[in-house]
């Protein structure tokens, strides 16, 4: 790996100012589990890395008023074991528990995962289920976007070079809504992730959110599939099959090391049904 300089700012302002100064030659550095791998292979090269882990403001996970906040420094392990997450959104803790392996979870951050925008990832599809948003700081101020808008494609976000994601805000699922997230794959990284959140009244789907990750180029909300479910009978298997079919058709899968596009679309079909069934079952319990 080519030598680089490591900057260790202690405030958000200093961080974005350093980033801005470095321009294309600099990059933010959190756990490094993506960045350093890419730099070791020579795929990416930077003269300066700006460490977010030295900025106290970016630390931690907290909860207030129906919203979980995940700071930019929070690792997968921090989220997995956070008392707030376990109490208010145990689904997030259980998904985080199955991200990568314990070594990666102990250093890799949720925000770093989102910002690298590697399609084969869990947090994107999971956080879409919660309609989560990120707060962004730059030398010219702050702004917020949804996770859906943050990730625009493989390895591509809507962030400018001098922007820093300071935190993810995760509103809890509305009352009565229950979520499930299923992942599939035999590589280190997931081949497919499907999120489903449903509320049910009188045996019918009242509200539904369906999200898809890893198979499509970016985490995706499957609104067409959601539409056929709303108002439909929960125990009608044909509806879930139809939702799965629509999701599969709408999934922009590609052939890669994880499998053919055809197989991935088949998996989408299978796992949309399974995730829906699991979400419904959780609602019943």
């Amino acid at each position: 790996m080519r030598p680089f300089r490591l900057y260790e700012p202690t405030t958000i302002n200093e961080t974005v100012a350093t980033l801005s100064e470095l321009g294309d030659d600099g990059k933010l550095y959190a756990g490094g589990t993506e960045l350093l791998l890419a730099m070791k292979t020579g795929l990416l090269q930077y003269d300066g890395l700006v460490n977010v882990k030295t900025v106290p403001e970016l630390e931690g996970v907290s909860y207030s008023n129906g919203t979980l906040t995940i700071g930019a420094r929070a690792t997968h392990s921090t989220v997995e074991h956070s008392a707030d997450v376990l109490a208010h959104a145990p689904l997030i803790a259980s998904v985080e528990h199955r991200v990568a392996n314990v070594r990666v979870r102990n250093v890799g951050t949720v925000v770093g995962n989102l910002c690298f925008a590697e399609p084969h990832s869990d947090p994107g599809a999971l956080l879409l289920l919660y309609e989560a948003e990120v707060d962004i700081a730059s030398p010219s101020g702050t702004r917020s976007v949804s996770v859906e808008q943050l990730v625009v494609g493989p390895y591509e976000t809507s962030l400018a070079g001098d922007e820093l994601v300071t935190r993810v805000r995760v509103p809890l699922l509305p009352n009565g809504m229950r979520g499930a997230y299923l992942k599939f794959g035999y590589h280190h990284r997931p081949t497919l992730g499907v999120g489903a959140a449903v509320s049910v009244t009188d045996g019918k789907f009242l509200d539904v959110r369906l999200t898809l990750g890893s198979a499509p180029p970016k985490p995706t909300r499957m609104r067409d599939a959601e539409a056929v479910l709303r108002g439909a009978a929960v125990d009608d298997p044909a509806v879930a099959i139809e939702a799965g079919r629509i999701a599969a058709e709408g999934c922009d899968a590609i052939d890669d090391l994880h499998g053919s596009a055809e197989y991935k679309r088949h998996l989408v079909q299978v796992f949309v049904q399974r995730a829906l069934a699991e979400a419904v079952e959780r609602g019943v319990k």
């Binding site: 080519r2 292979t41 299978v270």
Partner: protein, 745 residues
């Protein structure tokens, strides 16, 4: 000798290297620092097949801190090529590159960052040639030849009247099976430090076969064996990937060029471009009678040896030796070819040709059983070789009956009482079985030296490489047993060719059997000398004296071994030396035939298949290890389970993927090796100890057997669960799903 008489043999004593390894004191090649040492970086070819038009290293050489750049132009006054059977590998690419990642040049610099920067400055101009990175494309008539032709080696044998036998049998089965290219993934990548000096070469390297590396370096640089020193510190796993000679000649040539010691520590990614296992395509034709009697077998195999031969000659031979299976056929015709392709060269890998052969023959055994309506176990038992049978005509007969060994595995598994319970209509369970015997490739050439000190302790010298298999502990146990001293009084000195006597290699499951005999004999030699001294002291005959617990005793009077040594030298010091020579003509008479022993492999699996996704879960696996006598039972189990676990990789998901010569998954994120999550739900090893091996105490080798039968056992279980037969590894969910979908049509 009955079992009760053993002291440490047969006990799972704690490994003698455990403190070193747990405390971090253990030295590996990467820890070696030689004063003045430079750091090396390779310049790999980005193209899989190309002519080298020119190399311009001037910018790299001009970079401050660079000591030397090695290219083909510098390979003068030396042999330029190396290789175990065929010397077809240039030390750095000459005129042509044959696989992606082949070193075209190498840089030595003051530090790694400088070496890396300089490597990028080496300008190479290529003329691309069309690349063939699989058997099919390399065998096309118009394929661009990689060497003089794309055929590396040819092998075969025949007995009986094969054509007449096929004509006379009731049914003929023909099936083709594919086995993928896989990587060993030893945790320690290849690492080597060489100091080339005008009158000697000193080498520290992660090599399994230090004496073969020594011979190769001596030949290349025109030195005598005594001028070349090869030290092998602890090795972080080998599995064959560090067999023979790998990066040592390149590092030595670079050191000569730089005029100082040089270290090359490869990354995993670089090691994946250094060596791999042979992919294979095997077609088996089997003629049988309706009652299940095996009559004739014909096999045609191709193994993909990549850009260079490496161990391709032996692998081509071994797949043919192992593909007939553990059965008796009166008519056999077997042929195999080693083929060059534009991919990482393929070398030794735990049981060369064994898993490829068994994948084919043991899958087909179940295909035949199904077609004839015979129980697969009964079909095997009907045709199984017995003690004294020549499974391969002209080779060593089997040393023991196989049927009782199979039965031990079936009993442990609960095969006969298996009740299938499918969790759901689309999630199905099933069981599968496979077995084989493999001819160990071990050559009986080992020597050992045992020094016995004046305080009753002893130092044992062995050329066996400690690659994690626990050889040092086992050798210490054998020495302690024969010297009649406690294990704690033994120190084992490992591979340093300047210090330890010759051992051919560490591989082919050979060390306990062959080096074990050498250590045994050397220790007995010392004991006999001690008894002679004691006989003089007590004024009696040696056979009147009892040697036990570090003492010689005669008529109730004892003298410690240390005192005997001191008495002989007439002072406070001195030492005895014992030697052990293992050759074909070893006094035991058990090493005259080839192979030295047959390694037994047996496996039974239970799987659960999710038909909606194609996911296969390995619920249970029972493996057998047949050490004859387990000198350290826990280590035997470790070898067996480690081997089976490694096989789960090539069975379920491991595969090096190449497209037009481009290596698509050259790292451990994209290339999936098994982890603890992939352990079978229940995982057991049955130890078979019938004392029927040629090694000390009736022992024989076990390092490889566990890897041989996993894939066919799993595929047979998948068939049992779903009715779907898979003929291509690995059994990825997509492949299984596709096969299930196809069967529905």
């Amino acid at each position: 000798m009955t079992q009760q008489e053993f002291n440490t043999v047969g006990q799972s004593v704690r490994r003698i290297d455990s403190y070193d390894k747990i405390s971090g004191r253990a030295v590996y090649s990467v820890d070696v620092v030689v004063p003045g040492m430079a750091y090396a970086k390779l310049v790999p070819s980005p193209l899989p097949h190309a002519l080298i038009k020119s190399i311009d290293a001037s910018k790299a050489r001009a970079l401050p801190g660079v000591y030397a750049v090695l290219t083909a132009a510098e390979l003068v006054n030396m042999e330029t090529h190396y290789g175990s059977d065929k010397k077809d590998r240039p030390i750095v690419a000459m005129n042509k590159v044959r696989f992606q990642g082949e070193p075209v040049a190498a840089v030595a610099a003051v530090d790694l960052a400088t070496a890396e920067a300089a490597a990028e400055l080496v300008e190479v101009e290529y003329e691309a040639l069309s690349a063939a990175s699989d058997l099919t494309s390399a065998l096309l008539p118009d394929a661009e030849p990689i060497h003089d032709s794309n055929y590396c080696h040819e092998y075969g044998y025949e007995w009986g009247d094969v054509d007449a036998a096929f004509a006379g049998c009731d049914r003929i089965f023909e099936d083709t099976f594919l086995f993928p290219m896989v990587y060993h993934y030893a945790m320690e990548p290849h690492t080597c430090v060489v100091s080339y000096e005008h009158d000697r070469i000193r080498t520290w390297t992660s090599a399994q076969h230090p004496f073969l590396v020594r011979a190769e370096l001596a030949r290349i640089f025109g030195m005598q064996l005594d001028q070349v020193q090869v030290v092998v510190p602890y090795v972080g796993g080998g599995y064959g990937s560090k067999s023979y000679t790998k990066i040592e000649p390149l590092v030595a040539a670079l050191s000569r060029e730089a005029g100082r010691p040089v270290r090359l520590a490869q990354s995993v990614e670089e090691s994946m471009k250094t060596v791999r296992r042979h992919a294979a395509r095997a077609t088996i034709r089997t003629g049988v009678m309706n009652d299940g009697t095996f009559v004739a077998r014909e096999c045609l195999s191709y193994v993909d040896t990549g850009g260079y031969t490496d161990n391709g000659v032996r692998v081509t031979e071994r797949i043919s030796d192992r593909i007939v299976g553990p059965y008796i056929f009166d008519n056999v015709r077997v042929k195999s070819y080693g083929i060059y392709t534009n991919s990482t060269p393929a070398g030794s890998f735990r049981s060369i040709g064994g898993p490829q052969a068994s994948w084919a023959c043991e899958s087909q055994t179940d295909i035949i059983a199904e077609a004839l309506g015979i129980d697969p176990i009964q079909l095997r038992l009907k045709n199984l070789a017995k003690k004294g049978d020549e499974v391969r005509r002209g080779k060593r007969p089997l040393e023991g009956d196989l049927a009782p060994k199979l039965q031990m595995v079936l009993d442990k598994f609960g095969w006969d009482n298996y009740v299938r319970e499918d969790p759901s209509p689309t999630v199905k369970r099933g069981i599968g079985f496979a077995c084989n015997v493999t001819n160990s490739g071990a050559s009986p050439t080992s020597t050992s030296l045992v020094r016995f000190h004046a305080d009753g302790s002893s130092t044992v010298y062995i050329g066996t490489t400690e690659i994690g298999q626990g050889s040092r502990s086992v050798m210490a146990q054998i020495a302690a047993e024969e010297l009649r001293i406690p294990l704690a009084s033994i120190k084992v000195i490992g591979s340093d060719t300047d210090a330890v006597p010759y051992d051919r290699s560490t591989g082919s499951s050979r060390s306990t059997t062959l080096m074990g005999l050498a250590v045994h004999d050397a220790a007995v030699d010392v004991r006999e000398q001690l008894l002679e001294i004691a006989a003089k002291h007590f004024e009696t005959f040696a056979d009147q004296i009892e040697a036990a617990d570090g003492k010689a005793t005669f008529k109730g009077e004892s003298m410690t071994f240390g005192a005997l040594v001191r008495e002989m030298f007439g002072g406070s010091g001195g030492e005895l030396m014992g030697r052990g020579y293992v050759t074909q003509n070893h006094a035991s008479g058990r090493l005259t035939q080839d192979p030295v022993f047959w390694e037994v492999s047996i496996g039974a699996a239970e799987v659960e298949v999710d038909e909606d996704t194609g996911t296969v879960k390995l619920l249970r696996y029972v493996s057998a290890s047949d050490p004859g006598k387990a000198i350290n039972p826990k280590q035997v189990e470790g070898q067996d389970e480690g081997a089976a676990m490694q096989a789960i990789g090539h069975s379920m998901f491991e595969e090096m993927l190449f497209e037009d010569g481009q290596f698509l998954n050259p790292n451990l994120v994209d290339y999936r090796v098994p982890t603890f999550e992939d352990l079978p739900g229940e995982f057991e090893t049955v130890l078979i100890e019938f004392g029927d091996g040629p090694g000390p105490y009736g022992s024989k080798g076990v390092g490889e057997g566990g890897i041989v039968c996993v894939a066919p056992a799993i595929a047979n279980a998948i068939f049992n669960a779903t009715g779907v037969r898979l003929r291509e590894l690995p059994l990825t969910p997509e492949r299984v799903w596709r096969a299930i979908e196809k069967s529905k049509q």
